[in-house]
């Protein structure tokens, strides 16, 4: 699958409290969550984000709370992929489980600039920065996680197994 979008760039340790503040957790509707995504660190995100856009961040993206509302909000806001140097482990699970593509690449995380246009080939893990014309390769997924991704998320995988 190929993706293309504009980059929203953030730093290290973007936690789930800023991705979606707890004051909005009383409503699990992804469309409602998306309206408040990132608002405590970037008020313009929701105004500017378009379908297919890409988040590039530093280390430990999605740290803190286990709230699945965080990847749900990012996905519903239109973000097609999050690239980071590393992900917090629960966010990583949640993203894989709900089908939000995430890629680990230290070089892409460090070099891609805010506002760049980036193309991603999810099948190969190739990330291409059209502004600098540089290419990066993301870490491959372990085989078991590839199965979840290919099934369309954990629930789809379980459905096949129990039915």
């Amino acid at each position: 699958m190929k993706l293309k979008g504009k980059v929203f760039k953030y730093g290290d340790n973007v936690d789930t409290d800023v991705i979606i503040p707890a004051r909005y957790l009383n409503n699990p509707d992804p469309a409602v969550l998306a309206q408040h995504c990132m608002e405590d660190i970037d008020k313009n995100f929701v105004k500017e984000v378009k379908n297919g856009d890409i988040i590039v961040a530093g280390k430990n993206f999605g740290s803190g709370s286990s709230r699945e509302h965080a990847p749900l909000a990012i996905k519903a806001a239109g973000i097609s992929c999050v690239i980071a140097e590393s992900f917090a482990r629960i966010f990583y699970r949640n993203a894989i489980n709900i089908g939000l593509p995430i890629l680990i690449s230290k070089e892409a995380s460090q070099n891609i600039k805010n506002g760049s246009i980036v193309e991603i080939d999810l099948s190969t893990g190739l990330i291409r920065d059209l502004n600098s014309n540089k290419e990066y390769k993301a870490e491959p997924y372990p085989a078991f996680l590839q199965e979840i991704i290919e099934a369309g998320g954990l629930i789809e995988k379980i459905k096949r197994e129990v039915n």
Partner: protein, 418 residues
Amino acid sequence: MTIVEKILASHSNKSKLNPGEIVNAKVDLILGNDVTAPVAINEFRKIGINKVFDIDKIALVPDHFTPNKDIKSAENSLLIRNFAKEMQITNYFEVGRVGIEHCLLPEKGLVAPGEIIIGADSHTCTYGALNALATGVGSTDIAAAMATGFLWFRVPETIKIIYKGKLKPWVSGKDLILYTIGQIGVDGALYKSIEFSGETIKNLSIDSRMTMANMAIEAGAKCGLFEYDDKTKEYLEARVTRDYSPIASDKDSIYDKILEFDVSNIEPQIAFPHLPENTRPVQEAKNIKIDQAVIGSCTNGRIEDLRIAAQIFKDHKVHPDVRCIIFPGTQEIYINALKEGLIEIFINAGAAVSTPTCGPCLGGHMGVLAKGEKAISTTNRNFVGRMGHPQSEVYLSNPAVAAASAIKGYIAHPEEVL
């Protein structure tokens, strides 16, 4: 093998496991709360089966926005209540009987050594204090596990941390874990298991160990584990009736790294905004006026914490410019605090005492901060906007420092009061 490798192996029919492998392991308990369970229940419905794998191995604990703070929260609680009834889930805890999940489940005997507990709440790692592999996961994870009784796990590397030395007065488990996070960073144990060990740990109460395990996640860890000893045995005796098997690491275990901390000279720690790794000795927190002091939560809402706070508050008053909110972790803790006269001390000091709830810790309700306000808090996170307005600030501390600060009106060492 390390503790975590052994527990994962015994739950996935393997004789040997190495870090990095992914296993599908049987789980012994699944936890959801009023924020995460509604999402999980919706996902569970999509699977298309009409019963959970085991009605006794699921705990539904509506503790975050309860007693319900608004209509949406009430609807979420209703959804959980109806699901619990429909599935005949035995461990559903209604308002009045509910407590903060990570104080409640150990108290109810739902956690035992060698077991695997998953919770759609990041602080599920608390139960590592009882030698259980407990870890936070997402809502979809618990939906899948409620259906099948299994979940996928990556076998984590293990970091062993050895603590040496006798602690100074007013230094507690909270300070040990804040100090540790300050040393290794908020991603210092990312994807890994921590084994807490050493002579200092042997002398720590179970309450203090729970405080430490609770914040393993703030270093990015999958779990924070303690070995089983006489203190664990004593805690479990009155609570757990089923058989269990304590798990210890082998002498020849392979560790990702072994760290040694001499903690005999550390002071009570303060984590400055906006990361738990921004720790400094309390003496370096100079002239920081506070508007609110919060004592409680899954981190520091146990009876030992309340006893320490009461020791400081006795014959003192909360500063006129400070709101002090104290919330015991469970009804059992609350009633014990009442019997011991602690609640009377708090109320006489001018503090508000709340029913158990996660509300204040995550800026949900019962103590939300306004723009520019500062709080000292015994909770676990000081992220941007954690307790309210994005321009408010949270300083993390142990209960003694929070109580002393509530009295002085600025961040203070307990010795400034006593």
